[in-house]
Subunit: 420 residues, 2 copies
């Protein structure tokens, strides 16, 4: 692997000017196709400090596209660690709700939103899982106002990945850090269609494919999905009034956005009480820097009644104990094995990529955008929680059937590929 990979790195982003040109193309893609920023709109960006070179291109692109104002909330991972290491007992339950509420007000007043997501998987290494879980709960509670705006697709928003050195070292543990960063950028630019001729037109064609697939699923009014591959065997009932989402969506403000880039999945909302069976995770989970491996879950009545893992079980159990909804499903997503991300055969420890590499479920909070407006939320059976953690189950041997309202069974995927 290292021979091919290092060759790729030399070929591409080892050259600073080439990296900068590709970051500029990425900025253009996420502003014009992802957020689809409208003339006169404000743009609120979140990014780790390491992403400053990308943020500069985002600002220039956005202002040229007629942005009224670009504001970036830079995130410093060291402040999170200082909070965890030195904060007293009272401090652990405290987060900046005033900041999240301010962003929510900016969105209500018309701003678009861009999340540049650069993970720090080793940030919390060695910290007490109970303290991490308390900080996580405080943070999630403080962000409710803003999360309602984005998860409910009330404004046009987009989340894209950014390569941090911490993340690259985790993905490529045997490779020198500089090379690991270059290799991960190569993968990202490839799955994001950056560096090819006319990436914007390639994205539009890809979005048309996803839209056709989504419309076919939507038309069937599926009652439940059945996943089975010899190890996993689980039936997941869907919420009443569920909607399938994937690729481009139209936000409540009328603007079309691609909320996650890359975008390979089509997903919807399960019923919180209707998952039955056994789920064998096809890839590890990354939880606040802790890896959970060899994960097997048993569901009864929609609830996880048993967890087994060869590594990281303590951390997972602590998170699943956050609230009642943490043990139930909030999302189910379908991804073919032929997706650009799956084709890499790399575990990225990053939901934005890994959820586009394999079919998956998520424990915890559901997305309001996956539900019809015609029903009251409590009538749909959609789950609620402060948590949202993705868990991959798709593989090259996975079959998925749709169970239709009349009980008929229709194949959706065979050996990891759509049969629709």
């Amino acid at each position: 692997m290292s021979e091919r990979a290092l060759g790729g790195a030399r070929r591409a982003v080892r050259d600073p000017a080439d990296l900068d040109a590709k970051l500029e193309a990425l900025a253009s893609l996420c502003v014009t196709v992802g957020v689809n920023l409208q003339r006169g709109q404000e743009l609120v960006v979140s990014a780790p400090i390491e992403a400053q070179p990308l943020v500069r291109h985002v600002a220039a692109t956005a202002y040229r596209a007629g942005a009224r104002l670009v504001t970036c909330l830079y995130e410093d991972p060291h402040l999170v660690r200082a909070h965890l290491d030195h904060g007293d007992d009272q401090a652990l339950d405290c987060a900046a709700a005033w900041m999240s509420e301010a962003v929510a007000r900016a969105l209500e007043a018309g701003a678009g939103r861009l999340f540049i997501y650069g993970p720090y998987p080793d940030l919390l290494t060695g910290a007490d899982p109970q303290r991490i879980a308390r900080m996580h709960a405080a943070l999630a509670a403080s962000m409710k106002a803003e999360a309602a705006m984005t998860a409910g697709l009330r404004v046009n928003w987009c989340a894209i990945p950014f390569v941090t050195e911490s993340w690259a070292r985790m993905v490529r543990p045997g490779v020198p850090p500089d090379a690991a960063v270059a290799l991960l950028w190569d993968d990202l630019f490839d799955v994001l269609r950056i560096g090819e001729a006319d990436p914007i037109e390639r994205w539009q064609a890809h979005l048309r494919t996803l839209a056709a697939r989504r419309d076919a699923l939507e038309a069937r009014r599926i009652d439940a999905l059945h996943f089975y591959d010899g190890q996993t065997d689980i039936r997941i009932g869907l919420a009443r009034g569920h909607r399938w989402i994937g690729g481009a969506s139209i936000a409540a403000n009328g603007v079309q956005a691609v909320c996650n880039m890359p975008a390979e999945e089509i997903f919807t909302c399960p019923h919180r009480e209707r998952a039955e069976g056994r789920l064998v995770a096809s890839r590890p989970l990354a939880l606040g820097g802790v890896r959970v491996e060899g994960l097997v879950l048993t569901f009864r009545g929609g609830r996880i009644i048993d967890t087994h893992a060869t590594r990281g079980k303590e951390m997972l159990d602590a998170l699943l104990a956050s609230d009642e909804g943490a043990r139930r499903l909030g999302e189910v997503g379908l991804v073919p094995e032929s997706s650009r991300v799956a084709a890499k055969r790399v575990l990225y420890y990053n939901t934005l990529l890994d959820e586009n590499a394999a079919s998956h479920v998520a424990f915890g909070q559901s997305y309001a955008a996956c539900l019809s407006d015609d029903l009251a939320p409590e009538a749909t059976g959609a789950n609620r929680s402060s948590l949202h953690v993705d868990c991959m189950l798709g593989s090259a041997t996975m079959n998925v059937d749709a169970i239709l309202p009349g009980g008929e069974v229709e194949p959706l995927m065979r050996r990891g590929e759509f049969t629709l």
Copy 2:
């Protein structure tokens, strides 16, 4: 100068471990003496991204002192420049009021505030002064809510300087950038009493000296100040109910803070209609990266009726045209020639330092904290403006007299030193 100075740089902060230890001491000083953060208080920090190594120490120090939460709003100068270069006409008048209002709410709810001020004097080089002035006006308007909390000393807050490479290059134009940064840190650590034995106790002794001087000025109920040195000859009437401030102050929340570090000045509020005469600036002004040199101002009835400058007059005139109050005085401060900052004989192009190097006035907004609560603000004669720009007039030849309520004249300073 370079021989002495480079020797100093080799002696001190050229060693990364030494710099880091001094940044840690600076963090401790500004959290415990500057902001004087109380157990259970939140701390809201603003800092340029370059100041990340200092911010980490601030967070650790603050959490150890019982901070409930430390939040840093990182400032990216490149986004300001992108706004100026690429923003359309509508964008120029737009600033993030939602952010400033959120900070104001955090302060109202009990947070302390720390400003880490790292200037970028070359940031706006070559930009249109009219566009700069419009952005400045929009920014000042958007920050009203928060500025009222700090200028009115309603909470404990502190501003400290931080060495950016841009600033160091301006202060030491003939020196390689790394050496310029090291030299400027040497100066800062010296005037901040960092790197000496027990800097906290040295600060407490210095604050007692400033308090005695402030009390002596306060007791006289001075009607006007007369500055004269053969070139400058100006009488500045003070506002009704003015208060002298300097060193430590007690904020409305009951917490003592040192709002500016270093702290050498004692200052108060002039009457907006009572400045008469000629002011010859003793040092250049730095206005948004533009230097104003050879500045001579004529005052009648408190108003600047004539400006003369050998450089930068266009920029100054544009700012003075911001609003009616921009042409009138909002502050007058007294600083002896023996201050640690004056002793450096260096022009820093940074108000936090230069206003502690020489007696000065400021055009524009007054400080509510310099006024008695017993009078309605409009009854005091205090000035109001979106602008606040300091202008140094003190020198080793400057004399200052106090004109007392009965018309008696009492010397306050002779040849730049207090005679009190």
